[in-house]
Subunit: 229 residues, 2 copies
DNA sequence: AAGCGCCCTCTGGTATACCAGATACCAAGG
DNA sequence: CCTTGGTATCTGGTATACCAGAGGGCGCTT
């Protein structure tokens, strides 16, 4: 008989150079505001391989994934460039987000526990009294966490996967627009209505409110956003 | 002054070995019924490089894309395997399809021309009189074309991209279930109602009908589909 | 001075060699 | 006979060398 088992953590066999390069590059891409740059940003395979201390091969495989996810575009024999989304593409992303998040809301009314739904309300505890206008940064953070929580509570891996890359863009838009046009105040009201519908397990209403809330963002961007032109 | 311009097609500079390998592999994967196989199907990089007549490098990059799209899973130092979706995953795919197609229907009521919408009705001309039960294969084909047309007429590139890979799976499910439980007859009725709502530019109704039609498919699969267990 | 073309350089694309981990098989020991 | 540990071999992962096309600079031609 052997003695008590040792507790060991499984070695993370997935941390190949390729995945590390992927994470490093994605982090780098998402942390720069590509729209603030005068020129397109180019990624140099050879330079990156020196900076990251690995050969071009894992870098190229990471690039392939980033291209598949739409963050990067490679022009043969010319270079790899960070893509800048057009206004039209950004509006499409917000609309797709609206469709998927409304599905998530539907699933929450059907599957989530009362306890899980209750966590949503707590995100806005500090804004219960008075308007969020005076603490915009904090509200923006809570706003983003709310939308992420809806996705997570749906319990659907696929929705989470499909929104993950949209989120990086939509997050920036939410942050940029929250201060305009009294949007924070109205956003808070919308969120409370959504939470109420979820609590009451009103599937159709929760779905419709969630969809309309984000479609409103798309409409707002369509009307007021001229940054890219 | 130069004479009249010659009409030339631009050389497809994107047809790298990598993209050709990608298309070949995707075609191969989608044409086999992975669920009919007793064991997981493994893809051998070296064998494929011999069969396709190129080196492992473009094969590997194609594999990377396929993995990113969820068709393939690679286990380090063990092999690359074609993934088999679980029943739960398939239901999630159908639900996501429902969410995106209902958004497409919304956009059609807002943006498409009457002429474009009219093309939808023509898809079902041959089933106008009598039930589709007697010509199931033909109806199944029209059914699939209808759902593809909704996506296309929305005019959203992003929706088309995001549904493209779902479609490969959802298509198989639609084909497999169309013969069950008088579904073809009810499907035809649903489609006609959707077309009517689109023609009347009734945004909310078209969206809701489209969503419910595909959510019904998800519910049907959830109840009756035991193939994978 | 302007237009054209050569050539150097730099890019991503591909082929290839080698590495380390996973597996199956086999032989030695109980 | 079963167990155990070594080992041959096969896998994906990585490094590297080389290729052809794209672009720019420079000098020749007119």
């Amino acid at each position: 008989m052997t003695s008590a088992k040792l507790k060991v953590k499984p070695i993370d066999t997935q941390s190949s150079f390729r995945n590390q390069a992927y994470r490093a590059l994605k982090q780098a891409i998402t942390s720069v505001n590509v729209y603030a740059q005068p020129h397109e940003i180019r990624l140099d395979e050879r330079q990156l391989s020196v900076e990251l201390g690995v050969s071009r091969t894992p870098i190229r495989e990471a690039m392939t994934v980033l291209e598949c996810e739409g963050f990067v575009r490679t022009a043969p024999r010319r270079g790899v460039f960070v893509v800048r989304k057009s206004k039209k593409e950004i509006i499409e992303m917000i609309r797709v987000w609206a469709a998927l998040e409304s599905l998530a809301a539907r699933l929450i009314t059907l599957n989530a526990s009362d306890k899980e739904i209750a966590t949503l309300r707590r995100l806005f505890d500090e804004f219960k009294d008075g308007s969020p206008e005076g603490q915009l940064d904090e509200y923006s953070e809570a706003n983003i966490k709310f939308h992420q929580a809806i996705i997570r509570l749906s319990g659907s891996e696929l929705i989470a996967d499909m929104t993950e890359n949209l989120f990086i863009h939509v997050r920036a838009i939410r942050q940029a627009t929250i201060g305009e046009d009294n949007r924070a105040q109205r956003s808070l009201i919308d969120h409370m209505k959504i939470i109420e519908a979820l609590e009451q397990r009103d599937t159709e209403r929760a779905e419709a409110l969630t969809r309309q809330h984000t479609l409103d963002l798309a409409a707002h961007v369509e009307k007021n956003w001229n940054f890219f032109e």
